[in-house]
């Protein structure tokens, strides 16, 4: 197939190998992880460690949503409901089975993934706005159901719930090696890092390429042979899996889900922090997790109202959407693309080679 007379481009790095830039980044990340795992527990009180554990958990959720939005261009307004679902599934598994903690994490992720895909499948044929709205509706429905059935806490039957006025029933257990709060913090950070690796691997793979094509131009993706429904579903599945794992971590972090809230408004707040953290880089999810869980507590400790943050997040959403280049959360708007190409042509012709 190659034409002998044409000059050959230099061989690129094959996808499996790591570039020097990657190696440098990996070193930085490992150093950072080491700091977080070993230094931070000694610097902070148990209360703040629990808060940071929460931040790590929500960064996993943000990671899922960020991939949906930044890589595929799909918006889900229901990831917090999926988180609640994951927590429910995990609590049930914790109480009804004696499975080891990591297995429960994995199973929660997988079951939530199946449920999320099941929900996503009929909705994927709809356009971006309608998909977002369906996820909002599904989130609302899930929230109502969970509010009515409550979380499993060691009771009998399928719902595994024991009624009580102050949340009696058992606590969700933690892994044997990580029962104290500082230990659980470390455990969660490691699981979080693993989840980020899973996401990174996806983004660099065939799926990531297909997602990028879908995000920028559905016609081009189709013309390249990408099975759109399959890849959109895959993105949904990945986001649901990640969120399910996060739900399990959450259940064990909180212990007793009785008073834990998953209000509908948090779905919107999550969207805001993911947008603000940045949907193109995986680091954005870390920032989102901190914004979501750490900053409110910080403000609270300074006696400032956390409501200021909600206002800030609202402003953040508007700012990001206004200044972001066309391509963020976009489907393929023809006028925008034509404009972009016209500008590209001008710039291209103007460039000297």
């Amino acid at each position: 197939m190659s034409v002998a007379t044409e000059p050959r481009p230099r061989s690129p790095l094959s996808p499996g190998r790591v570039s020097s830039g990657d190696a440098r980044r990996a070193v930085v990340i490992v150093a950072l992880l080491a700091f977080v795992l070993f230094a931070i527990p000694t610097l902070l009180s148990v209360f703040w460690l629990k808060v940071l554990t929460g931040a790590a958990i929500y960064s996993i959720v943000a990671l899922g949503l960020g991939i949906l939005m930044g890589r595929v261009g799909l918006v889900s307004l229901g990831q917090i409901a999926v988180l609640a679902l994951g927590a429910w599934v995990a609590a049930k598994l914790f109480f009804d089975t004696g499975l080891p903690f990591p297995i429960v994490l994995l199973l929660s992720g997988l079951i939530t993934m199946v449920l999320g895909t099941f929900v996503g499948l009929p909705a994927l044929r709809l356009g971006g706005l309608y998909l977002a709205l369906i996820t909002l509706m599904m989130a609302g429905a899930i929230t109502v159901v969970i509010a009515a059935t409550d979380f499993p806490n060691g009771g009998p039957g399928f719902l595994a719930h024991v009624e009580s006025s102050i949340g009696g029933g058992d606590q969700v257990r933690r892994p044997a090696i990580a029962e104290t709060d500082p230990a659980y913090f470390r455990y969660t950070v490691i699981v979080t890092a693993l989840m980020f690796l899973v996401a990174l691997w996806h983004v660099r793979s065939k799926a990531g390429r297909a997602w990028e094509a879908i995000r920028q131009s559905e016609p081009a993706a189709l013309a390249a042979g990408v099975n759109m429904t399959l890849y959109k579903l895959w993105a949904f599945a990945l986001a649901s899996f990640l969120t399910g794992v996060a739900g399990a971590l959450l259940a064990a972090n909180v212990g007793d889900l009785f008073n834990y809230q998953f209000p509908t408004s948090q779905n919107i707040t999550l969207l805001a922090v993911v947008l603000m953290g940045g949907i193109y880089s995986l680091w954005g999810a870390v920032i989102a997790g901190l914004l979501f869980r750490y900053l409110p507590e910080l403000l609270d400790s300074w006696n400032l109202p956390a409501d200021l943050l909600t206002i800030l997040f609202g402003i953040g959403v508007l700012q990001v959407l206004l200044t972001a280049p066309a391509g963020i959360v976009e489907q393929f708007p023809k006028d925008m693309a034509r404009l972009g190409r016209a500008i590209g042509r001008l710039v291209g012709i103007g460039r000297s080679r």
Partner: protein, 294 residues
Amino acid sequence: MPSWDEFQPFIVTGLALGGVYALSGVGLVVLYRATGVLNLAFGAVGAMGALIAWELINNAGWDDYPAYLMCILFGGVVTLAYGLLFGPPLANRDPLVKATASLGLALILLGTMSWIWSDKARSMVLPTSNENFMVSDVLVNYTQVIGFAFGVVVTFATAAFLRYTGLGTAMRALANDREITATLGVPVRRVEAAAWLGSGLLAGVAGLLLSNLVGLDATTLTFLVISSLAAALIARLQSLVVTLVAGIVVGLVNALITPILSISEYRDMTPFVLAIVALLWLSRHREISISRSA
């Protein structure tokens, strides 16, 4: 299974709420058709208007009706301001982006409401809620009548407005194709501003009525927009009459489930389930088009 007698009062509340959902739905649909923005902050705007009215009546000594007027005006002004500020820069973006931006507004309002008024239980009673009459064995108050009546009146008045007035025709033209309408010499920005204002005023009215029919709580009122949204979606964001019928159905089904104790806990799911079913049914042939240009 409850008896007919037990259902009756819920028919009344259902119709009243349904009427308000319908008028909100109309507000959502008209704005969407004219500007491409599905204003998800619709409920939050109404909620804040209602809270402002409450504040004026209870802490500033205002009379009832001027305070209500302020609520409605607030709805119009805030929505119009948002539309003037954020409409033009986002005008060429995908409807998804525009709707997401409106979530930003919703967050700002939610945060502001929570900050100023926190979550304390409040109530605001419209004078019409104290006047009632009997229909067969059921007590009906005038606020409920207004809720239902406004729903019907607003739907048909808006439909007539769109069809028979110059401004309404301009809005329909915009809905069809923004670019062409602009080249025809229609003052696009002014027509859009009218749509924003009208929609905002409706948000204020809805907030006022819902604060009575449901309760004066920021979060609840904000997310009641979802019921109106369900009605608008069932109407495919197009037909006003379908929005009316859908709104009433959503209100009725929701209310009628209340006395059925076995599933009563799940009744808040009604708008969600109805919207999901409608959306999935309508999409079965991939016919849904959300783009404003044909």
